[in-house]
């Protein structure tokens, strides 16, 4: 009883990846410990910064921004960076342990399936973190941002940004093919988000030369772009951020796909 060609019914293009994203989302729902951990970590970060801003901003504002705006900025940027799962660890483990031996013979792209899993997990975690972030920020800042209409724009921008982050983290994971360890690249990714993305402090507070450099990089589009919507309803700015995210998305996806092809060509799976 072996398979015949007539029993193969190729589905819609991308259907396999949707199915993978769907099962990953279901697994993320079941993995409650990981979800609760992130929600608590998100709350802790916002709590610490709300206390810190209270001390630093004696007169209740920094530049043109109020403490409430800054806390909502942080809630949004944290939401973007905490939503993507750490798929670089899974990719690294695939190569380190030889699990890739299970995945490569399947009629589906290895990188595509890992990214699809990332999207599925992100959909669940991102939803939970959006709700918890809203609650934490409202409680700790004492209400909604001064112009809450900006929050409407945060949703599409945040989803685009976190999706791009999933692709970037997959690229980080692929460095394990050369370095045996993806953590150095992940460390750089994290610090780049922190410094060049304006994770904690908006880029407006940076020296002009640094803000100008950071503004041309994808980290600012991913982190500062959605975060800036805490300062007001700015559809033009949101459109520009979305454009930048889509353009960077195309460039980075092509680069990660090329990295994957090059890496898999030189793959020497552990074992023997």
């Amino acid at each position: 009883m072996t398979a015949t060609a007539t029993e193969h019914r190729p589905g819609l293009p991308g259907g396999k990846y949707l199915a993978i994203a769907h099962i990953a989302a279901r697994q993320a729902v079941e993995d409650r410990a990981a979800m609760v951990g992130r929600v608590l970590f998100q709350g802790l970060i916002l709590l610490i910064f709300s206390r810190l801003w209270t001390v630093v901003i004696a007169d209740g504002s920094l530049g043109s921004h109020s403490m409430r705006e800054l806390l909502w900025y942080l809630a949004i940027t944290e939401w973007v960076v905490l939503s993507p799962p750490l798929i670089h660890l899974e990719i690294e483990e695939d190569f380190r342990s030889g699990d890739v031996a299970y995945r490569l013979p399947r009629p589906v792209s290895y990188l595509g399936s890992r990214i699809a899993e990332g999207f599925g997990t992100m959909a669940v975690r991102g939803s939970a973190l959006a709700v918890s972030g809203f609650v934490w920020a409202s409680l700790l800042s004492g209400g909604l941002p001064p112009d809450p209409r900006g929050l409407v724009l945060v949703l599409p921008l945040g989803i685009l940004a976190a999706s791009l982050a999933v692709v970037c983290i997959a690229g980080v994971g692929l460095t394990a093919l050369w370095l045996q360890d993806a953590s150095p690249a992940y460390w750089i990714w994290q610090k780049a988000n922190f410094l060049l993305g304006g994770l904690m402090i908006p880029l407006e507070f940076y020296p002009a030369w640094l803000a100008s450099i950071a503004g041309k990089l994808p980290f600012a589009a991913m982190v500062h772009g959605p975060g800036h919507m805490a300062f007001g309803f700015a559809p033009d700015r949101a459109l520009a951020t979305a454009g930048a995210l889509l353009a960077w998305g195309a460039v980075i996806t092509l680069a990660v796909a090329a990295t994957s092809r090059a890496g898999l060509r030189r793959l020497d799976v552990n074992g023997g």
Partner: protein, 330 residues
């Protein structure tokens, strides 16, 4: 008849980084790495016909997993020619993927927090299976492998034996013509091992599916396979029927007796003491000359056993015996 697997003069060389000695060496390593070549497989040639159940064995580092990875298209060989179902694995991996299945005992393809049935349904999508065909096959395998009561439980709650039954079904659902099994019984207890061996053997007998089975456990190859290929240091050492191997090399058991008495003395044909400690005696038994039943009867007549275990000789020992035999040949 087209071979299921044809391997000719296969070679695979890995380039391994070497580290220089001392602080200066470590510094130089940062700027220029030194590598050396390691031959994982050298001039390996064999052919497997459709429906054969072949044990592919050898000690650690013999090149078994590397060979399987070349056959499933994961690794590119350095030399030689390979055809699996008429396809070149590393060039036609996607096409081959529909026609082969893999089970790796130390890896999992099941989603840990979800019931195994969810993975089965996902694999149906990945392998482009018609929904009605998938439902029929799934029902068949769930019954054949006794998974009915397990399907609603998350994989994390399954025992290793239960999980391995699910892994097997996951690899069979697209009805591969060849199933590669890499140590599928590793870590299992005696009962679970026996169940898995029976399932694999019976399924292959019923469907005519070709099996290539790697294991360190001689019991696996005796119970499941008809033919055995032994490799050592990447080279073919032996290719014969399991029956011939049993006659030549695996007709022995290792029996350990722990007794109330300090010493056990036995004089039976084909039985020799290989290790002795107070209250513990390890015996090597040629079962063609003295059966395990006769040996146990003799032990019970002489001492009060506290514990008694019967095991196959380790694979390393068998390979050593084959190797010394091969070296002794002119």
């Amino acid at each position: 008849m087209q071979a299921a697997i044809e391997v000719e003069e296969l070679g695979k060389t890995f380039r391994v980084r070497t580290r220089r000695q001392g602080r200066g060496g470590a510094l130089r390593d940062l700027f220029a790495t030194e590598t050396r070549e390691v031959d994982a497989i050298r001039g390996l040639t064999f052919r497997i016909d459709p429906g054969e159940r072949v044990a592919f064995v050898g000690p650690n580092g013999a090149g078994k997993s590397t060979t399987i990875k070349v056959l499933s298209g994961i690794l590119h060989p350095t030399a030689g020619d390979v055809r699996v179902l008429g396809l070149v694995p590393w060039r036609q991996r996607r096409q081959l993927g529909f026609r082969i299945g893999t089970v790796f005992g130390q890896r999992t393809q099941l989603w840990y927090h979800l019931p195994a049935g969810d993975t089965f349904d996902l694999l149906a999508r990945i392998y482009d299976q018609d929904a009605a065909v998938h439902r029929r096959r799934r029902a068949h395998y769930v019954e054949a492998f006794g998974l009915g009561s397990l399907l609603d439980r998350p994989v994390r709650q399954l025992s290793l034996g239960e999980r391995m039954r699910c892994e097997l079904v996951a690899s069979l659902l697209h009805e591969p013509e060849i199933l590669f099994l890499d140590e599928p019984t590793i870590g299992l207890d005696v009962t679970a091992k026996a169940v898995i061996r029976d399932l694999i053997r019976d399924e292959s007998r019923t469907t005519g599916r070709t099996l290539l089975f790697t294991s360190h456990d001689t019991g696996d190859m005796e119970h499941v396979c008809d033919r055995v290929i032994v490799i050592h240091r990447g080279q073919l050492l032996l290719d014969q029927s399991v029956e011939a191997l049993r006659r030549g090399y695996i007709g022995r058991k290792r029996v350990t007796v722990k007794s109330e008495e300090e010493r056990l003395d036995l004089e039976l044909p084909g039985v020799r003491v290989v290790a002795r400690a107070p209250h513990s005696t390890e015996l090597d038994v040629d079962v063609a000359r003295t059966s395990v039943a006769d040996l146990v009867a003799a032990v019970l007549a002489r001492v009060h056993p506290l514990d008694l275990s019967v095991e196959d000789p380790p694979m390393e020992e068998i390979v050593r015996a084959i190797y010394s035999h091969a070296e002794a040949q002119p």
